[in-house]
């Protein structure tokens, strides 16, 4: 005779933690999945140094603002331009 409870505990509400063989096989499957389907994002260090082009930060509007003055500067120092 079943004991009277509010819910019938036919199944456990929570699964027991994975253990032993089950854990090992899950890990194997995960690794296999990565290898076969290339479903994992692989990150590798670039072989070339990362160059950040600082000039790209110079905005066109700045260049336009500086241009008239720079033109004078060049003309006044024409020996080095």
């Amino acid at each position: 005779m079943k004991s009277a409870k509010l819910t019938n505990p036919m199944c456990r509400a929570h699964k027991l933690p994975m253990g032993g063989a089950r854990r090992a096989s899950a890990a194997m499957m995960a690794m296999l999945g990565c290898g076969l389907a290339a479903g994992c994002i692989s990150v590798s260090a670039p072989d070339k140094p990362i160059v950040i082009e600082l000039n790209i930060n110079v905005k066109q509007e700045v260049i336009y603002r500086l241009a008239p003055g720079a033109q004078n500067t060049i003309e006044e120092n024409s020996s080095i331009f």
């Binding site: 905005k59 700045v62 260049i63 241009a67 120092n77 020996s79 080095i80 331009f81």
Partner: protein, 130 residues
């Protein structure tokens, strides 16, 4: 006492000479060696506002280019500060203009680093150039 005075006078005249010596070429035209190097295409204008050696180049040419670039950098730094801009922005602007004013036959560098000979047509410059 007299020697002291003479020494001071000499120092002052030397200083005056040095100052005028520096100031005078600033308004003058290019040094003949620099002019020759430009015309022969040994040196050219780079988009970053500095002079570059197109190919090879001996020690004398390297020194000439370095000297000019040091002077340019000092000038850019001063003018950039006055204009409340960065040195890079000012140098880049000057580079735009320096490439634009190259004479046909002179060399300039494109934004992707290739050396080109200036023709009568417009040079290939950074798209931000005015």
């Amino acid at each position: 006492m007299k020697t002291g005075f003479t020494r001071a006078a000499l120092a002052i005249s030397a200083a005056v000479l040095a100052m005028t010596g520096i100031a005078a070429p600033a308004l003058a035209q290019r040094d003949p060696a620099y002019e020759a190097a430009r015309q022969s295409g040994k040196v050219g204008e780079k988009p970053d506002g500095y002079l570059g050696i197109v190919s090879g180049g001996d020690a004398a040419l390297q020194k000439l280019v370095n000297d000019i670039n040091i002077k340019r950098r000092a000038l850019y730094a001063q003018k950039a500060q006055e204009a409340n801009a960065t040195l890079e922005a000012y140098a880049l602007t000057a580079g735009c203009l320096a490439i634009a004013r190259t004479a046909p036959g002179e060399k300039y560098q494109t934004p992707d680093g290739k050396w080109m000979t200036r023709t009568s047509t417009a040079p290939i410059r950074d798209p931000r150039c005015p």
